[in-house]
């Protein structure tokens, strides 16, 4: 089914409309965003329910990262609204970590925001890292990690504290194939746990079984449900 972005019916948070059943955890409605005179998002809608995975795809400059930042509340749209039920976790495309802290120190810092004690944050961070086939070194600073491992750190920080909605902006850049598969296994696990997951990607392969795709390519500008 394909819905023109501007005509998809609006739904409120937590509603269980129609045959979908699960509550809506993320609802973006009528998002419009322009940079100078160039409109990158034109009335885009996105609804993600508990236990759903959505992919945002599109060519370079189509507004994928902008859409995710708007959903995370890190950028303002010119028009439109975003409603979120529960807590958000966000993984940026560019590595947004502190170069001179170790991964363990990142876990305790981000864990403090989520209300976790240092020992609990460290334990949970290492558990999540292991699911991405990453054994966290105690002394290595973030600046000395490889690009792929820094991105794993970003994914772990986004998932720390058990957020209800996960927004992941091309999170597997620099991953080797094994880590890429591990990442998607994590995504399926998060879906099973009832989280709403949104992944920005420009490489949607058969492996990436998602529940819906928001295609922001200029020629379509539509939302499709698989």
């Amino acid at each position: 089914m394909v819905y023109p972005a501007s005509t998809r019916p609006a739904q409120g948070l937590g509603e269980t409309p129609g045959d979908d059943g699960a509550p809506v955890l993320l609802h973006a409605q009528g998002i419009v965003k322009s940079y100078r005179r160039r409109r990158v998002l034109n009335g885009v809608d996105l609804t993600v329910r508990s236990g759903e995975v959505a992919a945002i795809v599109g060519s370079n400059g189509a507004g994928k990262s902008t859409m995710l930042k708007i959903c995370a509340g890190l950028a303002s749209p010119d028009r439109g609204r975003v409603s979120v039920r529960g807590r958000l976790g966000y993984c940026p495309q560019d590595v947004g970590v502190l170069d001179f802290l170790t991964p363990g120190e990142h876990f305790t810092l981000f864990g403090a925001g989520r209300g976790l004690r240092p020992a609990a944050a460290s334990r949970r961070g290492r558990e999540l890292a292991r699911t991405l086939d990453w054994s966290v070194g105690r002394r290595t600073l973030a600046k000395d990690l490889s690009g792929g491992t820094r991105q794993k750190l970003n994914v772990v920080l986004a998932a720390l504290g058990d957020p209800d909605v996960l927004l992941l902006d091309e999170p597997y850049q620099g991953f080797d194939r094994g880590s890429y598969l591990d990442f998607w296994k994590n995504v399926w696990d998060w879906r099973e746990e009832g989280k709403a997951v949104v992944v920005v990607t420009h490489m949607l392969s058969r492996l990436d079984r998602v529940d819906q795709v928001l295609d922001l390519s200029p020629r379509t500008g539509t939302e499709a449900t698989l």
């Binding site: 509340g73 979120v84 502190l98 001179f100 802290l101 981000f110 720390l160």
Partner: protein, 229 residues
Amino acid sequence: MSPTFRTLRMAQATLRELTRRRGVLGLLLLVPLVFYLGRHDEPGQAIRFASLGLGFAVSAAALFSSVGGREIEPRLALGGFRPRHLHLGRSLALVGAGLAVSALYALLIALDQDVRHLGAVVLELALTTLVAVPLGLLLGLAVPRDMEGTLLLISVIGAQMVMDPAKDSARALPFWSTREIITYAVDGAGAGSLAPGVAHAAVTAALLMAASCAVQAVRLRRRAHMQFG
């Protein structure tokens, strides 16, 4: 989880980041020493220049820390930190580090100079740190990159060095108190006075802290289009 816990975690992370940048830290520590040694033959001037060098070094550290945190702070705010936790935590770390450096220079001056009121010098170095931290944080929040902030900071310190402190307009500069208190400490009560200097530093530090805190709160505000259920 208490707000104090989050503030202290932020302070701890900032302090670790700062102290592990050893090359930058060493160069920043060197600035006041170069200023001091450059005018070593004139005790009053040497202390004034060392103090302004300290003000520059601490402000620059705060500026770089503020600009360096720009990427991660929105994520931390999204993850449960309030802007005030982040701002206060960063400020605490920088003030702590700055006071440690000012103590080193106070010790150097105590051993190397014959000053009438050594206590006033110690107080002045501490107040310079308290002004320098929010000044650097504010510059870091106001400019797009650290290069622009550094140039602005050089302009402020340069103006402070060349402007006659007796002029009323000199009081608009953030480190006016530094020169005023040192004049009192070195030349005695006839030449300068302690109370106006301390008051100027206190008011300047409070205004700069309030301004930087407000800019931080605006930057990390919850956007109007977001609704949480």
